[in-house]
């Protein structure tokens, strides 16, 4: 590791605002819901009931803290691990499961792999697999809001690996040049599949990369809901006040595999994961709630029982939904079905009619 030569620049407001006390229990409930959903999804994938899953465990406080610092008018440009952000934006669990299943109720109509959801009603732009591409797009949306004089911000969610992508550098540069009201929210979960953070970049922190583009960069403990909330809230205030963009690096740890296709035992030890789990963001917030007298063991047990039951019955209901109409494959390529696609759909219909393909 190189020694840090650039200090991260603190946000301009002197004291970062703390997470509103009345919202702490709700935030904890959300984090537990995300964790329980995640655990269930890993099992569902092993059972073959969903095709794929990318877990978020370890990133709940970062995602809920950031989401709660924003307004519903702000635009989210997620990567594919932002389950807790979607839940925090009020996306119903059922809609998440519909997407994981790609059923007839799925809002993206089964077009993408699990986790790549998008919900226009929640200002949650649809995710993509290519890394970092949402970063420049979030900057552009912020430039648009700036031109319309809307008092909103955009926020891009991405990981440590994305800081090596073209779009990260182009995005930070544009945002700096145009002072776009955007927040670059990097969840540094220490692993880009098998590549550890220290081999992704020689920079001492990821946030210090922002300095090269004339943008403040801050590092926060991503397991600390309060710290994340404060950093994002400050960044938001600066941005809507015309102070320009901020990059926030939330230090977290990816407890699970990159995805259900990944075997992390090939590149990291169980001991490293266990050590990281000692800083589990859920445990951290639970302790805080207990200290404040807002939580006890009985509530804890009740919450988990409730949440697990909700997750189970919501998924079972989603599983019973109708399958997608196969003919929908041809929709949404363009605003209108082109003559060529119309012909291809007719070709498909004929194959079904003649018994070549099953409907």
């Amino acid at each position: 590791m190189v020694e840090s030569t650039t200090l991260s620049i603190a946000p301009s407001s002197a004291v970062a605002p703390g997470f509103p006390e009345e919202g702490l229990v709700d935030a904890y409930r959300l984090m537990v819901l995300a964790r329980a959903t995640d655990e269930r999804c890993l099992t569902l994938q092993r059972q073959g009931r969903i095709g794929f899953y990318a877990p978020l465990q370890g990133q709940e406080a970062a995602q809920v803290g950031a989401s709660r610092a924003l307004t519903s008018e702000d635009w989210i440009f997620p990567a594919y691990r932002e389950l807790a952000v979607a839940l925090a934006r009020g996306v119903p669990l059922r809609a998440i499961f519909d997407q994981l299943l790609g059923n007839a109720d799925d809002q993206i109509k089964g077009r993408q792999m699990p986790n790549h959801f998008g919900f226009r009603s929640a200002n949650f732009v649809v995710a993509s697999s290519p890394i970092g591409t949402q970063i420049t797009q979030a900057v552009g949306a912020a430039m648009a809001a700036q031109r319309r004089k809307d008092a909103i911000v955009t926020i891009s969610f991405f990981g440590d690996g994305a800081t090596s992508s073209n779009d990260f550098h182009a995005g930070l540069n544009f945002a700096g040049v145009y002072q776009a009201p955007t927040i670059f929210f990097c969840q540094n979960n220490q692993w880009a599949i098998s590549l550890p953070r220290e081999r992704q970049t020689r920079s001492a922190t990821l946030a210090e990369k922002a300095a090269a583009y004339g943008i403040p960069g801050v590092v926060v403990d991503g397991n600390d809901l309060n710290a994340v909330y404060g950093a994002v809230r400050s960044a938001r205030e600066r941005a809507v006040g015309g102070g320009g963009p901020t990059m926030i690096e939330a230090e977290v740890y990816r407890f699970g595999p990159h995805s259900t296709s990944d075997d992390p035992k090939r590149y990291r030890t169980d001991a490293a994961v266990s050590a990281a789990r000692e800083r589990d963001p859920l445990g951290r917030l639970k302790s805080l709630l207990e200290t404040k007298g807002l939580w006890n063991d009985e509530q804890e047990k009740k919450l988990w029982d409730e949440v697990r039951a909700t997750v189970a019955h919501t998924f079972e209901a989603a599983e019973k939904a109708a399958p997608l109409d196969p003919r929908s494959v041809f929709d949404d390529v363009f605003a209108e079905l082109s003559p060529r696609l119309e012909a291809e759909r007719a070709e498909y219909d004929a194959l079904v009619r003649e018994g070549v393909l099953k409907p």
């Binding site: 290519p130 041809f330 390529v333 070549v356």
Partner: protein
């Protein structure tokens, strides 16, 4: 001869080539410690060390740009792009740079880089882990494009790619990485570029395919034979350079052509084959050329079976071509 699956054949071939030539190195995302997300480079870092099996940061343009520089300096880099769908940050380095280095330097600076990348659908990978976009690269002068469909050809074509003097895009049909095995020779026999393989001889209709579509087409040919239709299956193997003579000769024999690929139809590789047949075999054709391909939509996740060509669609098309003439 050893019985291997396709990804094992690639793994063995990389190791064998690296043992013989110290100039060869492998670079890409997760290729070292992790052995590649499909395990194509499994064990290589252990044998050859991190200097020759390089885990890179997450940057495709970094991988290809650096590989070009290494090649210019005299090494033989084999770059892995994790999925063909993720190659586009490096598109500029491939299309504007790699493919044009020899030409734009008047032959002074050839850049011999082999790019290995898994492509194609059938693994429930949705939009970004399934595409078959070989046509973009086939359209670019200066880069060769090859696609094995058997473990033996994977070895032979990879050895030829490493030996070649020009950049090569080596497309790996990930759907059949493990689903079929075959005898793989252990020696240095290359499969020369520009030579199609007659995977099955026939006289009534020619079925053209490559990569993961070859097993589907062979299955179709088997079904057709039960109906008394003799189908010839040509596995193209090498798209650039293309074995035009074999394509034309097959249609001169059968008089009918069914072209099969996973990629979208419009401006897909099949369009080039159809044009060649129109130019060079028109008077041999007894029925119109038929294309069985992916539709002109992005690659869907939940409905990939609607999108992907299969043996049934090929049988239907071939039957139609034979019965209409």
């Amino acid at each position: 001869m050893t019985e291997l699956n396709l990804v094992q054949a690639i793994n063995r071939t990389l190791a064998d080539a690296m043992r013989k030539d110290p100039n060869i190195l492998v670079l890409g995302e997760d290729v070292g410690v992790n052995g590649g997300v499909f395990r194509a480079t499994d064990g290589l870092v252990k044998e050859f060390g991190a200097d020759r099996v390089i885990d890179t940061p997450l940057s495709e343009t970094g991988i290809i740009g650096a590989a070009i520089g290494m090649a210019l300096y005299g090494l033989k880099p084999i770059a892995e792009i994790q999925f063909l769908d993720f190659i586009y940050p490096a598109f500029d380095q491939i299309v504007s740079e790699l493919a044009k280095f020899r030409y734009r330097s008047g032959g002074q600076y050839p850049a011999h880089v082999v790019i290995r990348t898994p492509y194609g659908g059938g693994i429930k990978g949705g939009l970004y882990h399934s595409q078959s976009t070989e046509a973009y690269f086939c359209h670019t002068a200066g880069i060769k494009v090859v696609v094995p469909s058997t473990p033996a050809d994977a070895r032979g074509l990879l050895l030829a790619a490493i030996d070649d003097e020009d950049p090569v895009l080596f497309l790996e049909p990930k759907r059949i990485y493990r689903s079929l095995t075959g005898e793989v020779p252990e020696g240095d026999d290359r499969v020369p570029f520009g030579r199609a393989r007659v995977a099955r001889e026939g006289s009534d209709v020619s079925l053209f395919a490559y990569g993961a579509m070859v097993p589907q087409v062979l299955e179709a040919a088997e079904t057709l034979s039960k109906e008394g239709i003799s189908a010839e299956v040509l596995d193209l193997r090498s798209l650039v350079p293309l074995d035009e003579a074999a394509v034309v000769a097959s249609v001169e024999k059968t008089g009918r052509a069914v072209i099969v690929h996973e990629a979208a139809r419009f401006c897909g590789f099949g369009a080039e084959l159809a044009a060649i047949l129109a130019e060079k075999a028109l008077y041999s054709l007894k029925s119109p050329v038929v294309r069985v391909t992916g539709y002109d939509t992005p690659f869907p996740y939940a409905l990939e079976n609607v999108y992907l060509p299969n043996a049934e669609r090929v049988v239907h098309a071939a039957r139609g071509a034979v019965r209409s003439s």
